[in-house]
Amino acid sequence: MTTLQFSDTPDTRYQVQVRSEAVYVDGTPIQIRRSAAGSFVGTLCGHTERLRAVAHGDTIYVQLRGRSIKVNRIDPTRATISGAAGGAGASHAPMPGVVVSVLVAVGQQAKKGDALLVIESMKLQMTISATLDGEVAELPLAVGQTFQRNDMLVRLKTSGDAA
């Protein structure tokens, strides 16, 4: 069985097994058939639905009725659902971009909502604010440095955390 998750709900995982007669999703058999390259046919509430899908590495993009969904394949031996790296105090880049300004320093105390740094992407500037009260533990990027989507931009630690 393969572990899959929807990209925007990474805490929920599904066990899927492709068999010749059906695809089992968490134990429920779902009947679909491939109608052409990248095209599939299935049923929803008695209606026939056409879907388009294409895989790229560990991500599969599926479109149903014009709505496209990203599904990720997870290696259960590597993935952990206890938060993205860094835990609750880390902020991650919502999109690729560049650091415009850094407003705090490592060791500084910050309160929830305090501005920590300013980033820019696609001409759009965004302020990254503290998601909780804590001490700035990591500032991995300098002004002018570029980053990719989901890269960690800053990490705060609370008094309960280890270093």
């Binding site: 968490d26 058999p29 259960p76």
Partner: protein
Amino acid sequence: MSRIISKIDTTSAAYKKNHAAMTQKVKALQTKVHKARFERPERDIERLHRQKKLTVRERLDLLLDPGTPFLEIGTLVANKAYGGDVHGAGQLSGIGIIHGREVIIHADDPSIKGGAWYPLSVKKIVRTLDIAIENRLPVIHLCDSAGGFLPLQSDLFPDKHAAGRIFRNQCTLSKMGVPQIAVVLGHCTAGGAYIPALCDYSVIVRGNGGVFLGGPPLVKAATGEIVTAEALGGATMHTTVSGTCDYAADDEPHAMAIARDIFANTSPITKQTIDRVEAEEPFYDPKELYGIVPTDWKTGFDMREVIARVVDGSNFHEYQPDYGTTMICGYARIWGCKVGILANNGVLFNDSSLKAAHFMRLCDRDRTPLVFLQNITGYMVGREYEERGITKDGAKMIMTQVGCTVPKFTVIVGGSFGAGNYGMCGRAFDGRFLWMWPQSQIAVMGAEQAANTLADVKIRQLQRKGHELDAEQIAAIRDPVLASFEAESDAYHSTSEMWDDGILDPVDTRNTLGMAIVSSLNAPFGEMGYGVLRL
């Protein structure tokens, strides 16, 4: 092979009587099975939820391939022991399918007395691993036990086939190259800690999983050290510091996904080949079995009618159809696999014993697995038969049967009494599996016969002292013996003590045998060889 011609009249009074009685028996079985599988005290379920644990069957659903069969072993073990609420002895065992391959599961059931090991729990685990060894089935251990049930420790610890045998079996499996994966879902304390340690791979759940030779209370008592379970033997410590466990899982579904992934990376083996074709449903309806076999074992029936409702297409090639007619021998297929069937149709005589021995040798030589359908009161007794060598002939049958290295499977369809049990591959004779029907009986002799014999002895004893007993007094001696014998001959008693691998609904016989036979092919058949036959 050709189709068995059935002579059953489903409209007859006898059929209907049998059907009604067996239906009752089956319903009673289903009720008991359901209770053993699912009924749990509220507070035990609540505790599971609080601990974020799944029930043992929910764990199984996540572990096994969806929409595949599961052959449970010993569902009703301990149903007559320990006050009757240690269902299944707190253990779930069975053969299931992962990635299309057979595995055998040993799972502690934490909703039964915290998964504590009673003497019968240990027996069940040892039996599970014995099955794994004999059939070379990969083992998945779902560990979640409170440890040994101390009040009964003398019955579960010291003896040869007690708890130590679990670990000895694990080592044997490892040496044989049979993969074992442990999923630590609760505590593995003391001896239990060896289970993951002796497995090829182990997964441990954060928070709930713990592996330690001594738990926190014992450690404190022994050295005064105060330490939490998590720090002493939790997931993080064992997967990063000690290396005792290999993978840490965030929760139970994650643990099962990891276990599946590990299993996918073990290499499948090439199975033993046997004569096997595409399967075919029996021609006759298996439900008719309810009307064919009487619930009173003393009433006879034609075992061919049973065979006809278990085998593919109801096709049967009978061997020596006119000789030794109290023993039916022949070839059939079960789920496509060619098997040799030996089935009782009466008492065993010289000719039926010799026929059975010859047939078993044919099957063994041609690598045909053997299926024994028991309904036997014993070998014929009497001077004529002794002079003709009935004891020698029975011995030849047993000697041959033990020498066979093809897998043997036994179903006790009616009665299984005395030496008849031996010749027909009873429990002691290394069959891969043995099951009983709900109304079947097993004892050294029938209860009535035993009660009469013992009463006789007592009566004559008293007579020698000059006492004559009236009917009431005789009954007072005889009836308790009868009752006790009946209770101990009962299928439920047998299954409680795990003298068998489970009680089957008769209609499940075919699937059970099919799954067992195909699973047994994971082990290569041994070299042929027999002891000396007293000719």
